[in-house]
Symmetry: C2
Subunit: 341 residues, 2 copies
DNA sequence: TTGAAAGCGCTAACAC
DNA sequence: GTGTTAGCGCTTTCAA
């Protein structure tokens, strides 16, 4: 059903039909009624592509989701919550958040993918996740002058809108807590080094140690994928040291689940012999044994704010709040505790 | 950079440029070289929307992902693996899998969303996930005569392409195993009743009981969201019965994690006093305490096959294998075992 | 081998 | 208040 057929059916010109349907005032009320009625009956929907070509806007916002090396899994399930919240907000203005995947080890590199999207004008705006400190995607988007918001900061942060959780504060809190528990050797099982969030978390960790006049032990910071498997492997490596750490701070709850398994395997009781802390406050952590001490980072709130920022940019507004650092909260549970004497 | 500007820059007509770039043979080789060279230099990309309007194809495949009641989370993280695999396959033919979300409790119902997509011709093909036995989306897609593949079966299964895991066999295996362990009261903590997979799993469960000449106890099948929280709540309810079950089969690993927490809370040792089995073979289950006995269901293989089926349908081929029931495998670990005497 | 021109379905300026 | 018409950027027929 095209506007052409609808117009013919009604004995009107297509322009009149178009105007009736798009809320123009210079259409007789009776005509509008008739058109709307018939459009509903015939289940008419304007052809999205044709409308886009004419208007120059696709009414969709793109986000590229990273897939890990085996091409089988979004790096972190929390993206689900983030995207759901963004979508809910932008929907009100007729926009749609559409997600595509990028296989980290696929043929095309991520930057080329962005370039294609930008030049083909696929999206009216972009959401960039999993930022790097020096992020080429940001440079690309800035150059193309297309609206975008990043989830996570970059070194160019003052020149683009971003929303982020306070990663530094999160690991400052977690580290301080272990120090207060009497731990002197605290290890950080961090995420991949290239990402801003990993860098910030390490900053928080180091700052807490410094404040307590502790020196980070050699080899007490490891980097790797935020998965159970990696958390397990890292924890094993840590515990095999001559002087193993007594507290393990993990970049995600998933890593902490893996780390706890390694501790059990080494005959340690988590929460008594060794402290383990996660990040993300997932349900899994809440129901693990022992329940996982973790960091709550309100992903949905971040998503909603990102949605609002995107809408503001799409509306050409530059006066909206450009940056938001979401505070975090430590959720104390049973996986950490005082250093055993 | 439009084809117009590129043509002007080259001193050629846009039609010649178009043909040179699209592999037509009636273009002088020298001209083609020159055009391709310059296009690369100027980083020309055809406008995706314009091309779509002309060709009638968007080169994208849509999938609508369900978001749960709080609008914050894809119902199941395994979708990530599925979509990654599908995307990897269809990319080879220039297609792109794009995911949009649907909030189960949002303003617009899912069917209306599909109707909009179909009439606006957003996608060349659709992937339908989380099927119901009588699925209105399937009827809609069939009526619209647009290529689609479902992940999961429907009652109309013989008339549309689908890929599914053998849910029935999975729970037949899991139930049989408990019966062999000596359990006589096996409970099923199932997913939401409306979905085909829940129905099939219950079929498998009942079939195993019947074969062993056991009657399912009253109230030994519950339905709910596939989350840790729900698994926990259901298990609590089960264990509070006068004659509680000694084995709990869960629709997902996440539910099983929750169920195990409830067992611990009731003072039961999982794997000794009570059996718990999950489904999905997630990393979390592998590293839980005790490690979770579960069902492996090769999501990525399914995704690859779905991709191939979609491509076949998009190419107008109807001779391709239309249905695929992927076999499952039970992964024995320590969360279940012989009935304590 | 190349260029002119039609047209995909729609919106919006302009004419009546 | 309504119709005619010119594009949006591209592909593809047709004529040269």
């Amino acid at each position: 059903m095209s506007i052409h057929r609808l117009a013919r059916d009604l004995g009107l010109s297509i322009s009149t039909v178009s105007r009736a349907l798009n809320g123009y005032t210079d259409v007789a009320e009776a005509t509008r009624q008739r058109v709307e009625q018939r459009a509903r009956e015939l289940d008419y929907q304007p052809h999205a592509v044709a409308r886009s070509l004419k208007s120059g806007r696709s009414m969709s916002i793109g986000v590229v989701l990273p897939i890990d090396e085996v091409g089988e899994r979004f790096i972190d399930p929390m993206y689900s919550r983030l995207l759901g919240a963004v979508d809910a907000v932008v929907q009100d203005k007729g926009y749609r958040l559409v997600a595509t995947t990028h296989n980290v080890h696929g043929a095309e590199d991520e930057l080329a993918l962005y370039r294609r999207f930008l030049q083909a004008r696929w999206f009216d705006a972009h959401l960039v996740v999993r930022t790097r400190r020096d992020d080429a995607r940001v440079a690309l988007l800035q150059e193309a002058d297309v609206p975008f918001v990043t989830y996570g900061r970059t070194v160019a942060g003052e020149r683009h809108p971003w929303v982020d959780t306070d990663n530094e504060q999160a690991f400052l809190l977690a580290t301080q807590r272990q120090i207060e528990f009497g731990h002197r050797h605290v290890a950080l099982l961090n995420g991949p080094e290239v990402y801003t969030f990993s860098w910030l978390r390490e900053q928080g960790y180091r700052r807490a140690l410094e404040t307590a006049r502790l020196l980070p032990h050699a080899g007490s910071v490891l980097h790797g994928d935020p998965t159970e498997k990696t958390g397990y492997a890292m924890a094993r490596q840590m515990l095999a040291q001559a002087h193993p750490p007594t507290a393990l701070l993990c970049a995600t709850d998933a890593m902490a689940i893996g780390a706890m398994a390694a501790c059990r395997e080494a005959g340690l009781v988590v929460g008594r012999d060794v402290s383990v802390v996660g990040y993300g406050n997932t349900e899994t952590g809440a129901f693990s044994d022992p329940p996982l001490t973790t960091i709550e980072h309100r992903v949905s709130d971040n998503g909603r704010l990102i949605g609002q920022l995107l809408l503001a940019r799409l509306a050409g507004r530059t006066d909206a709040v450009w940056h938001h650092l979401e505070p975090v909260e430590l959720v104390p549970r049973a996986s950490d505790g005082p250093l055993a004497p």
